[in-house]
């Protein structure tokens, strides 16, 4: 299984990493923002982790 190294290899490698990082950061940002908004709407004793 020999790799075919073309000129676009580096772009594909960087694209793979960029998609992964952007997806994880984007998901985390959505969860944390929504968490902050909803946390402010419940009594403090409903947030037992704080």
């Amino acid at each position: 299984m020999l790799a075919t190294i073309g000129p676009d290899t580096w772009w594909i490698i960087i694209l793979a990493w960029a998609i992964t990082v952007v997806a994880i950061v984007g998901y985390a940002a959505i969860v944390i923002r929504r968490g902050k908004r909803l946390s402010a709407q419940v009594p403090p004793d409903a947030r037992r982790w704080m």
Binding site: A3, I12, A16, W17, A40, P43, R47, W49, M50
Partner: protein, 267 residues
């Protein structure tokens, strides 16, 4: 933060800074988040600077440093999801159901990234983004099963019925994990064999093995951090649903009492 003063549970101590601002964070998640960030920086250093190209895979080994950790995290999260689904069915536990949802959602994200990075690796190695290979096809099927789980979990209806329905789908989806894992042995496959848990020896070694192991540990830390935040967010959503349900019931009771008084007055 602007709506804090007008929302139930918002207190002056929050605004004055005596308590931390309301969020899904805790000391534990902040430490885990810091470890994940530092680990990610280290993985990038190892993957792009320290690790040498592979003799067979060439530079495309650098995609493996993200592809293998994401699939490992996805498998692990889906197995944990199945465990929590079983506990949900057995105990009807809302905690287990919420944990199952959090692990299922983060696991599906990790599997989506596995499929995308795998397709990009396929473009470099096979000159095709997709082939109907046993490993790729079963992994895509697993992804669709978990999308189904998330869809069923998001359906309306009584919470208990929702728990039961989604847990059954979650356990059914997890049954496909061994098939995906063993697909490269059971069928002729273009996909390489097991990279880390192979029967003979690791197919990668030295710096590449170190980089891969580090990336896997970091992917697990990131997954745990995401699951904790997602669990707490779902917990808050459930709390607010309960408050809304209680308010609706109270309004209905008041309405019914008002009707009874009017009927009594009319007599």
């Amino acid at each position: 933060m602007t709506d804090m003063a007008t929302t139930p549970g918002a207190t002056a101590t929050h605004a004055s800074g005596a308590m931390p601002a309301p969020s899904t964070s805790s000391k534990g998640t902040r430490i885990l988040g810091a470890i994940s960030l530092i680990g990610t920086a280290l993985v990038l250093l190892f993957a792009f600077v320290i690790s040498k190209p592979d003799a067979q895979l060439g530079e495309s080994i650098r995609i493996m440093y993200v592809h293998v950790p994401t699939v490992t995290a996805a498998y692990l999260l889906m197995i944990i999801n199945a465990g929590f689904c079983a506990v949900t069915l057995w105990k009807r536990s809302r905690f287990a159901d919420t944990m199952a949802f959090a692990t299922g959602q983060v696991g599906t994200l990790m599997l989506a990234l596995t499929l995308i990075t795998g397709a990009l690796w396929g473009r470099v190695t096979w000159n095709a983004f997709w082939v109907w290979d046993a490993r790729l096809t079963t992994a895509a099927l697993l992804f669709l099963m978990y999308l189904g789980y998330l869809a069923v979990r998001s359906l309306g209806g009584p919470p208990e019925a929702r728990m039961v329905r989604s847990s059954i789908v979650g356990i059914a989806a997890a049954c496909l994990i061994p098939v995906v894992h063993k697909s490269v042995e059971w069928w002729d496959s273009l996909h390489q064999g097991q990279t880390v848990l192979g029967k003979l020896k690791p197919e990668v070694s030295g710096q590449q093995y170190t980089t891969l192991m580090l990336a896997m540990v970091v992917a697990l830390c990131i997954s745990a951090w995401l699951v904790l935040h997602r669990f707490r967010l779902s917990w808050l959503e459930d709390q607010l649903d309960d408050v809304g349900l209680d308010a609706a019931l109270e309004a209905r009771r008041s309405e019914a009492a008002g009707v009874a008084i009017n009927v009594g007055g009319a007599k």
